[in-house]
Symmetry: C2
Subunit: 238 residues, 2 copies
């Protein structure tokens, strides 16, 4: 029951290579195998071509990774342009959810957005794109924030997104990811589905393990977002 859907030009692109196609293909590859597994040679193979051909469209591997990030964040700018907000609260909420959707749809690519070295110190991950940051600053300024407050909000908002989404994406990506080791049967003091971590028999971690493993990503995100907005509101009204 494999979906084939909208990716009919997957392999053997019949001689029509292009930068867009390379980046598309790279993103798809990363979604499946992670950025670590992406090599010029394997990517080329997916495209039915030799590795060296890619260098016509791309200056190298780093260029591809950067382009993938840009592609992902391009979607965020688009989303913000279509549904425009009436209040700064609405704007931040939409932006937060758009980025969260991105992280959930591309859990294995999101670490790139979140952890690649920013090109400049004012490009804070995961809002790692000039377009998005520009949009952010002009919008908040438009809602009456003065310079200091815009910058302050930018800082706290990015920290919030990074802290909440990177971890959630990692968990989400781990589930999706192919099993690397076929689970050695002999290490369990208790029923231990947690890979190679050995738990002492009388630990708090063990006692709280199930509760700790619960996924409350979404509601925690919502609550933390609300808290952040409240905090900003207080600053503004002062």
């Amino acid at each position: 029951m494999e979906q084939v859907g909208s990716s009919e030009r997957n392999r053997r692109s019949a001689r029509g290579l292009s930068r867009d196609l390379v980046v598309d293909s790279a993103l798809r590859f990363i979604d499946l195998h992670g950025a670590q597994g992406l090599s010029m040679r394997k990517l080329a193979q997916d495209l039915g071509v030799e590795a060296m051909s890619l260098y016509r469209y791309v200056t190298g591997r780093e260029d591809i990774l950067e382009a993938v990030v840009t592609r992902l964040l391009g979607g965020v700018t688009e989303a913000l342009d279509t549904q425009l907000a009436q209040t700064w609260q609405g704007y931040l909420q939409t932006l937060a959810h758009t980025v969260r959707d991105l992280a959930m749809q591309h859990p294995r690519a999101f670490p790139l957005v979140a952890t690649r070295h920013p090109a400049a110190p004012w490009l804070r991950p995961p809002l790692r794109s000039l377009d998005v940051v520009e949009h952010f600053l002009t919008t908040l300024t438009g809602f009456g924030f003065d310079d200091d407050r815009v910058v302050g909000v930018y800082r706290s908002f990015t920290s919030f997104l990074l802290g909440h989404l990177l971890l959630e994406a990692a968990l989400h990506g781990a589930e999706t990811s192919p099993v690397e080791e076929p689970m050695d049967e002999g290490d369990a003091q208790v029923g231990n589905r947690d890979a190679d971590v050995v738990l002492p028999a009388d630990s708090e971690v063990l006692r709280l393990r199930d509760k700790l493993s619960e996924d409350h990503g979404e509601e925690e995100f919502e609550i933390a977002l609300e808290t952040l907005l409240d905090r900003i509101e207080l600053q503004v009204s002062q």
Copy 2:
């Protein structure tokens, strides 16, 4: 005016290899050149030995990286054991600052602590160590938190640390890092010290660039930490 100090057993360890020495050396290498640059061969060279010798003490590159993380977080447990706290607020404050100190002292190694795949879903970066998490859970339980609240605090506390420290470490690490490209002179529409980012002439980013580049890492960290503690206090008293 180079400091030589306490690293007299740097290269050519005179035939006394050991796992600790390998991990030590790896951490020092990563502090200087980042984890990306670490190869078995170069690390071995630093130790005055061939690459294959390392496999006596270490199962491979991944094992080394994991051991470096463990070493770094081991220091956190120690710090917590020596100065023990009277209140949960004091505890969380000490822990937060200990992890922040770690991030600032090893900005190029900290991404490992923060972004490597956790071995289990309840090991949330950057508290990526069974010992630290166990310490955290027992301490808070000892201060009277019930199970749900301990777990909730664990979640929000880790998100807070990740969001604030990963970015700060990246900025801190970028300053320390060796210059990769010798800065092409011809791309500046304005005095542009920000690598290859080209700013449109009438952008908000350009106008706010200096303010955006200011480093308020520490005070933001303090403020956000206070806010978090306040929020927890509210939950507890309910």
